[in-house]
């Protein structure tokens, strides 16, 4: 079920109506759990077994970990739990990739694809269950004795299929409190949802109309078109994913839950390190806390720190998709982070550097991040190479600069500039009465924009495939 589809609006109306009609905490938790299963099963009910099995597995081994004081045995239980999580992820997401890569490397022609269906959101809920087991092992959270509550933490429908990646420490506490929603929650949630909906349908889906053909055959287009295509994809993936995250946060807020922020105007970053503090924040912090630090972080000397960074980002790239392009993308980001660690200004200190340096850092980061979106989006290495060559001048002849794409990118730039300047009226807008002139006009204009320009067929979110 896609947030921008009619089916979802009917679904949320029914769930919201039942939530409002019945006040009991137990009923509301059961309602949200049932709704989450309906939401996930809508796509393919058979995979309800997978998410339930995965949750029960992690809950059970987490329970073992938390009840065991003995160090080696505790560690063994942790690894058994993690192996189960990683095993299902490896099977469903990477088995085909590894088999195909093996067959290609050794020239085995008869080894075909296994044809395994990738369960939607498996990368997200697996990371959530892993964080629970690891945090229990580290003693950072208390055990969750209530299995249905744990199931709701893993399958909570607003963030189930594409994040934000919520940790047990951020969510289980909220389930222990009374499940309450207020008019303020509903208003704030609806505003966030609408903003995300506009980002997704008005901006991302409209940009894809230009991006898809350009990335499908980059050799056809001239250099200027390819540069526009590259920046348009940057805008599309940001609005698609940040839009989804906002919608998820908004839906959760309507039911009285707080999900963590996932994007913080990443294209305003002045370094690659800052970018990763602002882009897909819940993933980058997850990778930092559960992978980079586990590998030793920066505690074992500069060389090992660089290797840890590279490894973390390589695996982060592979998390996005089972393909060598994602490995290349992650590896390049890891390399850039390592290089910046040695020569750049630390993000905590950059505000004190000169404006010229900040501007140069911003421009270099913006272009660098977008250049790396090319392998992320392109179908394969060949297409990536053709696209990058074209950006440098070895390009085709066809010029295509759709005015709508240019206008959307300009609007996106303006939106970022607004965030940078944060005038008083923008800051006040969310807190105002929605029936006041300002918010009402903005709301009406957004609705008009959706009516006039949003594609009518709901298209899936890019991050669903991860």
């Amino acid at each position: 079920m896609i947030f921008s589809s009619l089916a979802f609006f009917v679904f949320i109306a029914v769930v919201g109506g039942l939530f409002a009609a019945f006040k009991g905490d137990r009923f509301r938790r059961a309602l949200l759990l049932g709704a989450s299963f309906v939401f996930y099963g809508w796509w393919d009910w058979r995979f309800l077994l997978l998410i339930t099995g995965s949750s029960v597995w992690s809950w059970w081994w987490g329970d073992r970990v938390s009840r065991t004081a003995d160090g080696p045995r505790r560690k063994l239980y942790l690894w058994i739990g993690l192996c189960g999580d990683l095993g299902s992820l490896a099977f469903f997401k990477y088995a085909d990739f590894f088999v195909q890569s093996f067959a290609q490397a050794f020239g085995i022609e008869h080894l075909g694809a296994l044809g395994i269906t990738l369960p939607v959101g498996i990368s997200f809920f697996t990371f959530q269950t892993m964080s629970y087991t690891i945090d229990l092992y580290r003693g950072r959270i208390a055990r969750c004795d209530d299995l249905p509550k744990f199931l709701l933490f893993v399958s909570f429908f607003p963030q189930l299929v594409a994040g934000p990646i919520v940790r047990a420490s951020e969510f289980l506490d909220q389930l222990d409190r009374p499940v309450r929603s207020s008019a303020a929650h509903v208003r704030a949630g609806a505003q966030l949802f609408l903003l995300g909906f506009v980002q997704k349908t008005l901006v991302a889906d409209n940009l894809s109309v230009f991006v898809d053909p350009v990335f499908a055959e980059p050799a056809l287009y001239d250099t200027a078109t390819l540069w526009l295509g590259m920046f348009a994809y940057g805008g599309q993936i940001f609005c698609d994913f940040a839009g989804y995250s906002l919608m998820a946060i908004g839906v959760a807020r309507v039911f009285g839950f707080h999900l963590p922020e996932n994007f913080h105007t990443p294209y305003l970053s002045r370094s690659i390190t800052e970018f990763w503090r602002r882009w897909h924040i819940t993933l980058s912090s997850w990778l930092r806390d559960y992978l980079y630090i586990a590998l030793g972080g920066n505690r074992q000397g500069p060389v090992r720190t660089d290797v840890n960074l590279l490894l973390t980002m390589l695996l982060g790239g592979l998390w996005h998709g089972a393909g060598w392009n994602f490995v290349l993308w992650g590896g390049a980001h890891g390399l850039a982070l390592a290089v910046h660690r040695h020569w750049g200004v630390h993000p905590n200190h950059i505000a004190r550097s000169s404006l010229l340096r900040q501007t140069a850092g911003w421009a270099a980061t913006l272009v660098g991040v977008h250049l790396l979106w090319v392998p992320f989006r392109a179908a394969d290495f060949g297409t990536t190479w053709t696209f990058l060559q074209g950006l440098l001048g070895d390009a085709g002849t066809v010029r295509w600069w759709p005015p709508r794409t240019v206008a959307l990118l300009a609007a996106l730039a303006g939106w970022h500039a607004l965030h940078l300047l944060r005038p008083a009226w923008v800051r006040k807008l969310p807190a105002q009465d929605p029936l006041a002139w300002g918010p009402l006009t903005v709301l009406a204009l957004l609705v008009l924009g959706l009516l006039m320009f949003a594609p009518l067929e709901a298209s899936p979110f890019i991050y669903f495939q991860f």
């Binding site: 055959e217 056809l220 295509w400 709508r404 009406a444 008009l448 009516l451 006039m452 009518l456």
Partner: protein, 339 residues
């Protein structure tokens, strides 16, 4: 806040947004509807209307007193008159009148002291060959010296879906449209309403009357389909030929690839049109070589628009130039009475 004040505010904001939407629609999307129902042809243009299209290309076009996308017709005099019959490729709502190939041909073939050519553009979106005898019958008073039938993508499907009535090929009956009559007072005045109506109508129709299992699409590539299409097109061309000579101009659907390479995506269509033209003793002209040459010369596809899709869709100004080039020599020879 009192309910009355809230209602007033809502109405004011809605009115403001409506006005803004109307301005945006007129500037960047379309004009108010200028269409009216016709029992035989379906939707036709209202004579004297002005039609603006900004969604695919940008053009503002005048509908003449005969309901055609053309200048007002003047007495034929000594001129030779060609009437072009075709679909949206000939109607060409995407480019200005001066850039359409009938206009380009009139200019190119004009000679000082000679009567010249009057090329009447009778193209209409969504029509196909079975409609053309009906259109032609309404234009006979213009005394055409030549019919030029413009054929392209999808016309074979029109032929396969046609009906045979008394040995003549005719389009299926026009379906009644209850919507249009109800909303006409609004959409005839508002570009925003027209745009929203066109946008949401398929969705609403689908909700109100969900389609059953989809019928498999007609396969127009089989030998049997080709045989039927050739027979029907031949009948149509012969029927037209009873009143004036007939030519067939074919605009093939090409894929414009890397480094000037092109590929005909529907070669079967060209074979069908050529065979029917031959059977009906009509001249066959393909615009394909001119379109390919144009692409290879400029590096830009002759179809598609910056504000829509480049390399697919209707002819752009360059494409109209190419079709005009393809027709120029044969028409000059015809004007001069050469074979």
């Amino acid at each position: 806040m009192k309910a009355g004040r809230i209602a007033l505010r809502l109405v004011a904001v809605a009115a403001l947004c409506g006005l803004l939407g109307e301005a945006v629609a007129r500037q960047w999307l379309t004009s108010p509807s200028a269409q009216m129902g016709d029992a035989e042809l379906g939707w036709t243009w209202r004579p004297g209307a002005t039609v603006a299209n900004h969604k695919e290309g940008r053009a503002r076009l005048h509908i003449n007193a005969r309901g055609l996308v053309d200048d007002e017709l003047t007495p034929k005099g000594d001129r030779r008159r060609v009437i072009g019959l075709g679909n949206s490729f000939l109607e060409a709502l995407q480019v200005d009148h001066a850039a359409q190939y009938p206009t380009l041909l009139e200019a190119a073939l004009a000679r000082p002291g000679q009567p010249g050519l009057d090329y009447v553009n009778a193209g209409r979106s969504a029509m196909g060959p079975p409609h053309y005898p009906l259109v032609a019958a309404r234009l006979l008073d213009l005394q055409p010296d030549l019919w030029i039938v413009h054929l392209g993508e999808g016309d074979v499907l029109h032929l396969l879906g046609a009906q045979i009535q008394g040995g003549q090929v005719r389009p299926p009956p026009v379906a009644a449209d209850r919507w249009k009559a109800r909303v006409a007072p609004i959409i005839d005045r508002s570009a925003l309403a027209t745009y929203l109506m066109r946008r949401f109508k398929p969705l609403i129709t689908r909700w109100l009357a969900p389609a059953g299992p989809a019928e498999p699409p007609l396969d127009d590539t089989t030998p049997q389909a080709a045989e039927v299409a050739v027979q029907r097109l031949t009948l149509i061309l012969r029927e037209l030929g009873d009143t004036a000579p007939v030519w067939v101009v074919h605009t093939p659907t090409l894929r414009y690839g890397v480094a000037g390479a092109t590929e005909d995506l529907a070669p079967h269509e060209g074979r069908i049109y050529r065979a029917a033209a031959q059977a009906a003793s009509a001249r066959y002209v393909s615009a394909g070589p001119a379109l390919v040459a144009s692409y290879q010369r400029t590096g830009q596809p002759p179809v598609g628009f910056q504000n829509h899709t480049v390399g697919a869709g209707h002819l752009n100004a360059q494409g109209h130039q190419a079709v005009a080039e393809a027709l120029q020599a044969p028409l000059r020879a015809w004007l001069e009475g050469r074979p």
